[in-house]
């Protein structure tokens, strides 16, 4: 069995053949960073994320030969990854790391969010949002992750999830209002 570690292969330039770059596997390797972002957006643990990406890579290999356009294939990859992440989310394995653990690691490794400012993050507030995301319904979580964490617009999110852009926007409104209201209901004054 010939195995390629995509991270290493990408760095070492072992997968730079034209054929591979056009194949679904090549697209998978090229999009791996984005797919990992989706996995993280759904709050999966590293081991669950590994399983998901492994499955997606196998599906990409099986789909070889059905090449249409790169855009279609990327959309397909994201869709498969989102569906697979939702499966894991349904098993209630998502967002298992509690706020304290997140903040402890954040302090240790100095990880910084793009959006979060440098104000101190209150554990309770973070925990409220974590719980809210954990409880968020599938139809709401997917659009939220793709729109706000993967920086896709409503049209792109709709194309991936098979929804109208207007439906995506209404789901985004609903999801964000849920998260915001839960903060206010628990007495957080932003």
């Amino acid at each position: 069995m010939n195995e390629i570690n995509p991270d290493f292969a990408a760095k070492a330039g072992q997968t730079d053949s034209e054929q591979l770059s056009k194949s679904n596997l090549g697209i998978f390797l090229a999009e791996l960073g984005r797919l990992k972002r989706i996995v993280a957006g759904f709050g999966l643990s590293p081991s669950d994320g590994e399983d998901v990406l492994q499955d997606v890579s196998i599906q990409a290999l099986k789909r070889s030969g059905k090449y249409r356009s790169r855009e279609d294939d990327v959309r397909w990859l994201i869709k498969v990854t989102v569906n697979r992440c939702l499966m894991e989310h349904r098993r209630r394995r998502s967002f298992r790391r509690h706020a304290q653990e997140i903040l402890r690691r954040r302090a240790k490794f100095g990880a910084k969010s793009n959006r979060a400012d440098e104000k101190a993050i209150v554990v309770e507030e973070l925990e409220i949002v974590r719980e809210s995301m954990q409880k968020l319904d599938d139809p709401l979580l997917g659009p939220v992750v793709l729109r706000y964490f993967c920086d896709l617009n409503s049209k792109e999110v709709g194309e991936i999830l098979g929804l109208k852009p207007s439906t995506v926007r209404s789901r985004l409104r609903e999801a964000r209002m849920i998260l915001a209201k839960r903060l206010l209901e628990r007495g957080v004054e932003p």
């Binding site: 998978f28 709050g43 492994q54 967002f95 997140i102 985004l172």
Partner: protein, 170 residues
């Protein structure tokens, strides 16, 4: 909550995402300067997204080290090939079984008469062989002795005594 607040809250998410028309965005902005509750909601919307981003960023930090092993070639099971091989084996086996069943001679069933005849033949051959051996021991006439043995071979060829008689002749 006033009617206008309800309308504004419907638009708040699109407002933060920059999805409103300039006219709608102006309307929301004006309302926000006057309404404390809607400002609170706007802040909560922003705060919740910031906190979600912290959670996502933590997940990404952990996920970036995830490795995926990929088979460069998908294992393909060639079902038609396997089916053809299996069919060939089955055909050969079936032909062989049928052929053997047709060609193999049927075993003769022995009757009691045959059994009795064989026993009698063996007994007679044994008696004659014993007599011939006595003759060979006490007589010098080799020709007569050999004739006795030959008689056993010719008359009872299927017996073990015939085989012994043949050896004596040689």
């Amino acid at each position: 909550m006033e009617r206008s607040c309800e309308e504004i809250r419907e638009m708040l998410v699109d407002y933060t995402d920059g999805q409103l028309s300039p006219g709608e965005a102006d309307k929301v902005s004006k309302h926000l300067t006057e309404c404390r509750n809607c400002r609170r909601m706007l802040n909560a919307l922003q705060k919740s997204l910031e906190l979600a981003d912290v959670i996502w960023a933590d997940g990404l930090e952990q996920t970036k080290d995830v490795r995926v092993s990929i088979q460069s070639k998908a294992k393909k099971i060639h079902w038609p090939r396997y089916a053809a091989v299996a069919a060939s084996i089955l055909l050969v086996l079936t032909t062989s079984i049928v052929w053997r069943a047709l060609v193999r001679p049927a075993k003769k069933e022995l009757s009691f008469v045959d059994i009795e005849r064989r026993i009698n033949e063996s007994a007679s051959a044994a008696r004659l062989l014993a007599a011939a051996e006595l003759l060979a021991e006490y007589s010098d006439n080799e020709a007569i002795v050999k004739e006795q043995y030959r008689y056993i071979v010719d008359t009872y060829p299927q017996t073990s005594e015939a085989v012994k008689a043949k050896l004596k002749i040689q």
